[in-house]
Amino acid sequence: MASEAAAVATSNERKLTIARAMAEATAQEMRTDPTVFVMGEDIAKLGGVFGNTRGLLEEFGKQRVRDTPISETAFMGAAVGAASDGMRPIVELMFVDFFGVCFDAIYNSMAKNCYFSGGEVKVPVVLMTSTGGGYSDAGQHSQCLYGTFAHLPGMKVVCPSNAYDAKGLMTTAIRDDNPVIYMYHKGLQGMGWLGTEPLANVHTPEDTYEIPFGEAAIVRQGTDVTLVGCAMGVHNALKAADKLAEKGVSAEVVDLRTLVPLDRDTVFNSVAKTGKLIVVDEDYQSYGLTGEIIASIAERDVSVLKASPQRVAYPDVPIPFARVMEQHCLPNPDKIVAAYEKIA
């Protein structure tokens, strides 16, 4: 198998889903740090609609694992208040699509209070939220919104592509003294009912470990083109790399892992080597991630770009329900191959 992650996945060691990796990291931190607690809709008895809080209620009880009313503004605000008072809340926004009902509490308060207080007030919140489509959940339940969160200052933004990273990034997130938006893709969550990507389920050590923010991973080495993405984009890129390899093209795949901080160096160095760049993103194309990556390279040294950089992103349309239309819009390996062929 081609990618490093995939290589790990084939080993005999313990594989987890991202959902279980998140829950495990959370439980481990809750065991050692009494200030960590979890709240959100359906995260207690149900264990989270996407499974990432399963088992926590049973182990930690309902004081520390709290179902909330459908009141995102109040409980996001409550996370800010509790975090400012010495707690380390992990709070779930069930679908990232719902951010519009509570974004003020997030971007204007959670993200800025550290600054407004000159660093005197720390707001260590982990905001977990599900992203992504592909299973016909339509326009209010399938968005990624990576660009929306990454655009605004004061929040770190994490988007793992596999369970190993998911666990380490979760541990780092919980220990971080800042708000961290932890965006997990439903299609990588290991929940069969969402049609999960098996390559996201990789070896995940039982012991606790951190993955530093701001360090992209080169998940496949290559020389002819750099494919950059996060979360599901990485899997699309890896599959495209396989297809390109069949054509004799050697693609390097960069998994950004965190969008804020963004590891521009790794992407730049890769593009400086390959001369070609394709950015893959399931978020809307315009004014988003793909633009940022391309601009980051071009502004640094446009001469490294030996061909016009390309984007394979979600088109600027609401996400349609019907399978044929949704699949037509989603990034996929073939589109990446086609983008390469355009600039080959």
């Binding site: 909330t68 009141s71 503004t73 009902v101 592909g134 209010q140 009912w193 349309v317 329900f321 019907a322």
Partner: protein, 328 residues
């Protein structure tokens, strides 16, 4: 304001259409999803929120409405849509993601829009409340007939939008009825764990509007209370809040194992299923005969079967139609 026998029959028939519809959808939804349940598969992919048990809230209210009246509905919209008179063929085709669907397959089950009968719904909790106030305002400003009804679940009554919309409706004294379907659950969270008051109609006091709680999942009691409230709105006397005790006879969405439901709850709810209850009442109080009942049921079934046939036989949209209708 009690219903006539005719109105009761209308309610009963629409309850049946709704229930048959959900039963059909339930079956078809599972096509392609066994043995492995994957939402992405089958003729109806995506999430599916069935309304079994909640038919009374739909018919008791909508019996008073004309196509000119406005309904903003929820993520669980089928019963509401059927009672409001949404074109069942096009709605079913929409749920199947077909080109003949109300939006050509763009919206799906949580986004049923039928402007011919002024029906809309949304997948975001309490999102329809502000729009209902705006539509009611529009009628008032245009001097046109029509009231707006905003449906929500009891879980939605804890959203900020609830507060803002009720206050605004009252300040502007627009003709809108806020209807809470209290099915006791917001996904896995019980009402008592999410709501500071047992009875949401108490909250009406905070908005200077009348509030009513209707127990018993009873279409006739709902008809009665709604009739007064809607007449009041039509007279220009402003909004009303109504909470209706109803029951969710299925999981929150299909695939929900409902591990959170106390043992026995579902059985006791099924024992008071509003459909047989209504049937018995029509039989005892009005002498509805078995053959009359069968005729009604047959019509209901046929309507549903026709709609499903229409949907099944309709073509998929072309993939590139995804790019159309972003803008008018």
């Amino acid at each position: 304001m009690l219903p006539t026998y005719e109105q009761k029959l209308w309610m009963y028939e629409h309850m049946l259409i709704s229930r048959y519809f959900e039963e059909q959808i339930e079956q078809i939804y599972l096509e392609g999803k066994t043995p492995v349940f994957n939402m992405a598969n089958g003729p109806i992919p995506g999430e599916m929120h069935l309304s079994n048990g909640q038919e009374p809230t739909a018919v008791g209210i909508c019996a008073h409405l004309t196509p000119e009246d406005i309904v903003t509905a929820t993520h669980r919209p089928h019963h509401q849509a059927i009672a409001k008179g949404v074109d069942l063929n096009k709605m079913t085709a929409e749920i199947f993601g077909k080109k003949t669907g109300l939006s050509g397959g763009r919206g799906g089950h949580m986004h049923i829009f039928d402007p011919a009968v002024n029906f809309a719904c949304s997948g975001i909790i309490a999102q329809g409340l502000g729009p209902a106030v705006g539509a009611a305002l529009s009628r008032k400003m245009q001097g046109k007939e029509g009231v707006a009804v905003a449906y929500m679940g009891e879980g939605a009554a804890n959203q900020g939008a609830f507060h803002e919309a009720l206050n605004l409706a009252s300040v502007w004294k627009v003709p809108v009825i806020f209807v809470i379907e209290d099915n006791a659950w917001g996904i896995s969270v019980a009402k008592a764990e999410s709501t500071a008051v047992g009875d949401n109609s108490l909250r009406a006091v905070g908005y200077g509007m009348p509030g009513h709680m209707i127990p018993g999942n009873d279409p006739i009691a709902i008809f009665d209370v709604a009739g007064e409230a809607i007449a009041r709105a039509r007279r220009g006397e402003g909004p009303t809040l109504i909470e209706i005790e109803t029951s969710r006879l299925a999981g929150h969405f299909m695939g929900d194992a409902e591990g959170y439901r106390p043992a026995g709850e579902l059985d006791s709810l099924k024992a008071v299923d509003p459909i047989p209850t209504m049937r018995n009442r029509l039989a005892t109080e009005h002498g509805l005969t078995t053959s009359e009942d069968e005729a009604i049921a047959g019509r209901a079934r046929k309507k549903v079967d026709d709609a499903i046939k229409f949907a099944r036989e309709s073509a998929d949209p072309a993939p590139e139609e995804a790019f159309e209708k972003v803008f008018a």
